[in-house]
């Protein structure tokens, strides 16, 4: 059993080293293993195991390195960071000095995530990531466990939660999760059903309790938000906006992998997978330029310096539960829902959504107050 104090001692510098490595990897904006190993060699990361560690300390340290590295392999990190985490695990597993080797523990609850990641990598044709996952499993480097760590009910000790590094976090997709393509389809179906029933019951449909174009309006809200996200992250790169237009045509085919792949190509600029309708305009492999023929190097975008933590926190919805953009009061039977941050575009998008959805309920006697002064806020009573 690892000595608690020793573990804490090792923890902080180790996490600092990981974040340094992954930060550099993130800046290369690529998911290629060669880039990763270049950084690895540059930092001399294999030496993290050197130094005489007495007795069982070496084994415990190796165990700790693998456990901490595994955190970067799971959501909420962005795809690039997750690939970096995978490479990190591979590197650590092979350069560790404990014998027999400490294994990578994969808990049952994380298996789904890993399968999705694998599938996404296969779909996006990231040969090296796929090869490495397969190799790790084939080499018996994995222990299939119930829980990622051994649990010994240490309640008194402050549990060391893994702090998610904000810079590596994936783009918040809350609006997209809220209004997914499945949901839009469902809404459209229900609407159609409703219209049909209405037509069969009444001769003239003068009563309209629903917005006729509700799905379209919801959809346009979501797209607007996505556009805004893209604009904000890539500073008006034309390819992205064009790409987003193509996305709009394909929402009906609710293909989750496509959505994900499109967002991912915006996050890292390595492999631009054209959507199905534009497959004929797919960028061809350029074997003449580099020796590695199986990858195509799309022109790298110059990402500007990442905004500060404060700016980002203000921009995104807070991840811990309470969103700073909204305030909600319940007085008697009234429900006051007030958006207090009109400058937050995300908030504005959601307010728009509320407006659209609220219109459905208009006949219930609820009121939607839209104070003129505060654009982007609304009060629902």
């Amino acid at each position: 059993m690892p000595n608690g104090k020793a573990k804490d001692r090792f923890l902080k510098p180790l996490v600092a080293d990981y974040e340094e490595l992954l930060g550099r990897f993130q800046q290369t904006e690529s998911v290629r293993f060669e880039e990763f190993t270049a950084i690895w060699r540059n930092m001399g990361f294999s030496s993290v195991f050197y130094g005489s560690l007495a007795g069982n300390e070496m084994r415990e340290f190796c165990h700790l390195t693998l456990t901490m590295a595994f955190n970067y392999f799971l959501p909420p990190y962005s795809f690039q960071i997750r690939v970096g985490g995978l490479y990190l695990l591979y590197g650590l597993y092979h350069t560790q000095l404990a014998s027999p080797k400490e294994k990578i523990r994969i808990a049952l609850k994380d298996w789904e995530q890993i399968q999705k990641f694998y599938q996404d990598s296969v779909n996006s044709q990231h040969y090296d990531a796929v090869y490495i996952i397969r190799k790790l499993i084939a080499e018996n480097a994995v222990l299939y466990t119930a829980m990622p760590q051994m649990l010994t009910f240490r309640v008194k000790k402050k549990p060391q939660h893994h702090k998610v590094c904000e810079e590596f976090r994936d783009r918040p997709e809350r609006v997209k999760d809220l209004i997914s393509t499945d949901m839009l389809q469902e809404v459209a179906n229900i609407q159609g059903h409703h219209e049909r029933l209405k037509a069969s019951v009444l001769e003239r449909s003068s009563i309209a309790v629903t917005q006729q174009d509700l799905p379209a309006r919801l959809h346009s809200c979501v797209l607007e938000f996505l556009h805004w996200q893209d604009r904000h992250e890539n500073h008006g790169d034309a390819d992205h906006l064009v790409y987003a237009e193509e996305k709009a045509q394909q929402v009906e085919s609710s293909n989750r992998a496509q959505l994900l792949a499109s967002i991912k190509t915006k996050s890292y600029g390595c492999l631009a997978e054209a959507s199905r309708s534009r497959r004929h305009r797919q960028v061809e492999m350029d074997t003449s330029i580099s020796g590695t023929g199986y990858i195509k190097q799309a022109p790298k975008y110059h990402k500007s310096r990442a905004p500060s933590l404060k700016a980002r926190t203000n921009k995104n919805l807070c991840g811990e539960g309470q969103s700073p953009g909204f305030r909600c009061k319940v007085n008697n039977s009234l429900f006051d829902f007030e958006a207090v941050d009109p400058y937050n575009d995300t908030v504005r998008a959601v307010v728009e959504l509320i407006r659209v959805v609220h219109n459905v309920n208009e006949w219930h006697g609820t009121q939607l107050l839209l104070p003129e002064q505060k654009e982007g806020s609304c009060v629902v009573r």
Binding site: M1, R41, F45, S47, R59, N140
Partner: protein, 382 residues
Amino acid sequence: MAAGSSSNVNENIPVFEYKDINTKPFHVGSFRTAWLEKLKPIDYSYEDKYEENEDADFAKEMGIAPETLDELKAICSVDTLRCQAEDEPLDTNVVPPDPTLQTLIQRKKKQDYKGTLRIDKISRVDHYQDELESLAVGKRPEDPVDLVPEGEIILSINVLYPAIFERFRYVRPHMTLQMLGSHSLVDLRDAICCISDLQVFGEFSNTPDMAPDFISKDHFKSAFFYFEGVFYNDMRHPECQDMSETTIDWAKTRDFPTFHKAKMEDTRFYDLKVKVGYPYLFCHQGDCEHVVIITDIRLAHKDDCLDRKLYPLLTHKHRVMTRKCAVCHVYIGRWLTTNDPFAPNDPCLFCERCFRMLHYDKKGNKLGQFLAYPYVDPGAFN
């Protein structure tokens, strides 16, 4: 919101009840089936996978040409991770000079500090204790019948020592056992060595030679485990009583959910519904209670000990200081005397020889008035 595909909660997937502390209860057997469903048999087998087959599968799945595959293998090979040139000698015991990694900076500080100390003696016992974990690693049985089957569950169970003194609480002395899923609870019970099993009751000053004949393990055979509201009693022998009866009856009168009973020998680990990381109870000898925590449940791996006969496997055991004889300070105390005019303090420990020499004459007659009890030192299992 119908969009939530995460609302499909599978009960057999262990999740945290309190993050990093313990999980919600789940059924061990179903957990195993859940894993086996998700994996291909080759993933958890003990055999080495042939590289050619693996490469062929990969190439087929991704649809790439053999040349690309070779290139890919070269790029992703482990050699690319090597930070030294091949011919440079490498001393992994020393932190490299001018480290840039924070871990190494910290380690170098410690190494430099250690260098300034005098030679510190590593206790031989501690050294061997660390080795205990790796003692049985990779052992294969001679008889293939005894091989742990692939896809078997291995549980790691911590059994804490009963008397934990206030000031030693943070250390939590315990023993760690590894068990197979197909073992029953009686196997666990038999593997737990507690000194209270070896206690001999009774006062033996008049008959010092008769002492070792009665040990508590033979007298009081009842025991029970408590997991998730169920008491598992040991009913193998006719003299075993149901010790959980009292607790269950008491609980009925109070505001507790009803507890159930089951037999220890009929329950295998696969049938249990437990929380990982949560303390449970093992009680024997009527009042000797041990806290039992299941720390880990996983599928068996090639590098584990694969010999069924070696399980339950002891991987860790806290060493307890032994109390020596008050006279010679060499041998471990075997007798405890009270009301003894010969002894410097009350009660007093003696080893066998000093005890005889001091309290009995050459013919074996008792000298003086005293009470003597056989003493079993807690460090007897070291």
